[in-house]
Each structure stands twice: as C-alpha cells, then as structure tokens.
Symmetry: C2
Subunit: 245 residues, 2 copies
C-alpha cells in the first residue's frame, strides 16, 4: 500500500525551459500560454531569484519576473521576502525559478535549506517552472551547466526530478569559428568520461513538459541527446524522452 | 633575515598561455621559442596531463605533448608514470600543465597531493608553463574557468602564483549573435558580485611572462582587465600587469 501511495503521489508537473527569452522577444513572452496552463490552479506563484543574472538584486529580479507574470494575472512573491524559505516552499501552490548563475542558485538553495523540501513538493505535484539555471537544477546534478563557478556549493547534486541532466542554451558548433575553446559537444563528451547520467541539450525556444513520469519535448526545435559511450543524436519536438533511456 | 631570504626565493618563472594552439597552427608551435627559453636549464620536463581534453587518456595526452617538446629537444615525462607525484614535483627541473577540463585537473591535483608542492616549487623558481586549464590554476582560484563542472573538486582554490585570476580563451561578445546565453563579460561580472579578485581575460595567442614579481602581457593582442566595481578595460601587449592592481 505504501508503494502504491508513493506512486500515486508521483504527479510531477513541470515546465523545464532552455531560456527565459528568445531572440527578439520579451522576458517569458513565448511561454505565456504554457505558464497560464501550468499555474491554472493558483493566483500566486513563489519566485526563487537566487541565481541573480548579471548580479541583479533579489528585489529587482522579482520585480522583473512579476511583470511577466502579471500578464497572465498571477501575483509573484519572492522567496527572499518570506521569513522561512522552507515553509514558503511547503505552502506554495506554484514555484518559478529564474535563470542566472547555477552555482550561486545551488549554493543558496542549500544555504536556505530549500533543495530537499522543493524536491519533495515537486514529487508531490507542486507545479514548477524553471528557465535556464532554474531548469538545470531539475536534473540529477548541475554538472552540465554552462556557468562560471563563482561560488563553491556544498554539492553539485540537484533536484533529480528528471532522470537525466539538462544542458540549457544548447549551442551547435559553429563551423566558421576560429575560436579554439571547447565546443558544447566536446564539454558534454568530457562530462561523460566521468559520469553516466544522460544529458539533454535543450536549444533556446525548447522546453520539456513533465506530467508524472511523462516527459515531452516542446517548441519547434529538435533536442540533442548525449549518452555515455554512444554517438549523440537528435530527437524531434513531441518526442517522449522517457522512452529513450 | 628570514623575510629577505623569502623574498630572494620569490624567483617565479612562468609562461601562462591562453591556449595551446592558435587557429590554423599546430599544438604549441607558436610558443616554441618561449618554451625553449623557459626550459633552457633542463632537458627533461614533467608533464601534468590530468585535465584530459576530450577525455583523452593520460598516455595519449603525454605522447601528443611530448611530440611538441621533442621539436625543442626536450624529453617530456608524464607525472602519472612516476610512483610518487609529490616527489616528482620536488625533483622536477621544469613543469608543463596542459589544457582540458579545469575541474578534473584541480580534483586530480588535490587527490594526488600535487597542489601544495607545485605551488612551493614555483615560488622557489621552478620553471612552469601552463596552457588553458594549466594557466587557470596559476590564479588565486579556478573560479573564472569556462569549463563544465564534470567532477566536484575539494576546493576551487588553486596555485595562487598570480595575484589575480585568469579567464583563458577570452572571447569578445559577438554583436551579430542571436544566442541568449551569457557573454563571457557577463559571466565575469557575475563573478565580481561574489568575489574581489581581479580577472585577466587572456585572448587566444596571448600569454603572460612571469619573472619574480614582474608579470608582462605577451603576444600581439590586448588583454581585458576586470575589477570589482570598475568598468573593464584593455591593456596593450608589453604592459606590466603588476602595476595595474
């Protein structure tokens, strides 16, 4: 009975987006319809601004995200304005984690004891949206982030709400480039010399829709799948990723 | 007397290069003359292959680097072939650390107890050359690496042989890009919201020549200097960087 009960509770409901903003668009605009659908059961969404893109303050970041959420008639509350972050997570009816620096985000999630309660809440059905760094943390670890290690987090382990890792803002190699730094594909290949967890390279404008154990690629683009000791390959939009691994 | 003795011993002698290979060139070719000069007192150089670019094995990486060193009549010995890495460092007459993944390099330097002896040897005059990840570790921390966190090192602290951090393969923002991921400059700006250590953005083809406390930018290009709460600026080749901070 306990097992059945646990399985019944695995009602994950996530929107895991590569980017908050597509080229030429406004912040979160391309996701407005999906956001309205994900958060249809609540008028208030809790915002986690810890990743601080460009070093923006928690308040300024929350104001920016709140403006986008006001367009779908939702009120956004910054978790930093509440007395107890853990309680805030447990009481939330929806959570959005914005992008920025993944190391800073993960360090803050641990420092504020948010990681474990957030994981539990998502497994129990809390609607969750992430963009960029906020999507990175949906994976098993943050080890395929593109960000600089500007702070030292106590662990690279993240929410584990997906059975793989995300590489957001996935970029194809530029055949005309004269730059000798590693391509994104080379970096992920290096990751797989040390780790077995698969990686989904999610291009800007793509997102994953997660309903329970079902994970579907959305948007107009393909995604690139990386597995240890295998050649990477593309999957079409609409693909159920859970069938791949 | 002790202080004077210590200062006398600060005979650092380093070549800190942005990249091993410039576009269109062969591995280490553009540095051959500098390498011959740096290592003129020895026919044998110790190689640290821990960063494993592309996941290449320690043996294959050593063979590749040994080929380049054979052109200047130096024998290259992989540290992984010697029974005690710490002793190998203490006995070396010259060290080269190649590029690859900085997280892997730093984790291995700590795991093999090489970090501290290498630091001491460099302060005592051991000729040292680094490229890319091997240059990253010359800074105070590895926190301005471009690499993916494919392993979790016990610390981000590195050799501290420079009074700043290095960002190798420094890349200017591309004004025609439609990619929404952070530019290199944005990433370093985020670093400075959390850290005070200055950063030198070293473009491919540039290197630093370190003699004692004197640090000079070499190659044909300018470098970009980032300091907390200041606008970044360019310095010309030939500039003594120690006068800047």
């Amino acid at each position: 009975m306990l097992n059945l009960h646990f399985r019944y509770q695995n009602m994950k409901n996530l929107l895991v987006a590569s980017t908050s903003t597509v080229f030429g668009g406004n912040y979160l605009d391309y996701l407005a319809e999906e956001m309205a659908s994900l958060f249809h059961n609540t008028t208030e969404v809790l915002f986690i601004p810890y990743a601080r893109p460009n070093g923006i303050s928690h308040d300024s970041y929350t104001a920016k995200a709140a403006e986008a959420f006001s367009k779908i008639d939702k009120k956004l509350i910054g978790i930093h304005t509440l007395p107890n972050p853990e309680t805030a997570i447990r009481q939330a009816k929806g959570v959005f984690t914005g992008g920025g620096n993944t190391f800073l985000l993960v360090a803050q999630l641990y420092a504020n004891q948010v990681m474990q309660p957030l994981r539990e809440a998502i497994f129990n059905g809390l609607p969750y949206m992430g963009t960029s760094a906020g999507s990175n943390i949906c994976g098993v670890t943050m080890q395929t982030t593109n960000d600089m290690p500007i702070v030292y987090p106590p662990s690279f382990k993240t929410l584990g709400t997906l059975p793989f890792n995300i590489n957001p803002h996935y970029l194809d190699p530029d055949p005309t480039s004269q730059h000798m730094g590693e391509t994104r594909e080379t970096r992920i290949k290096e990751y797989h010399t040390q780790n077995t967890v698969p990686v989904v390279g999610l291009r800007e404008g793509s997102w994953l829709q997660v309903s329970g154990d079902n994970i579907v690629l959305k948007g107009t683009l393909t995604a690139r799948i990386f597995q240890q000791n295998k050649e990477p390959f593309e999957v079409e939009t609409g693909t159920a990723l859970t069938t791949l691994f």
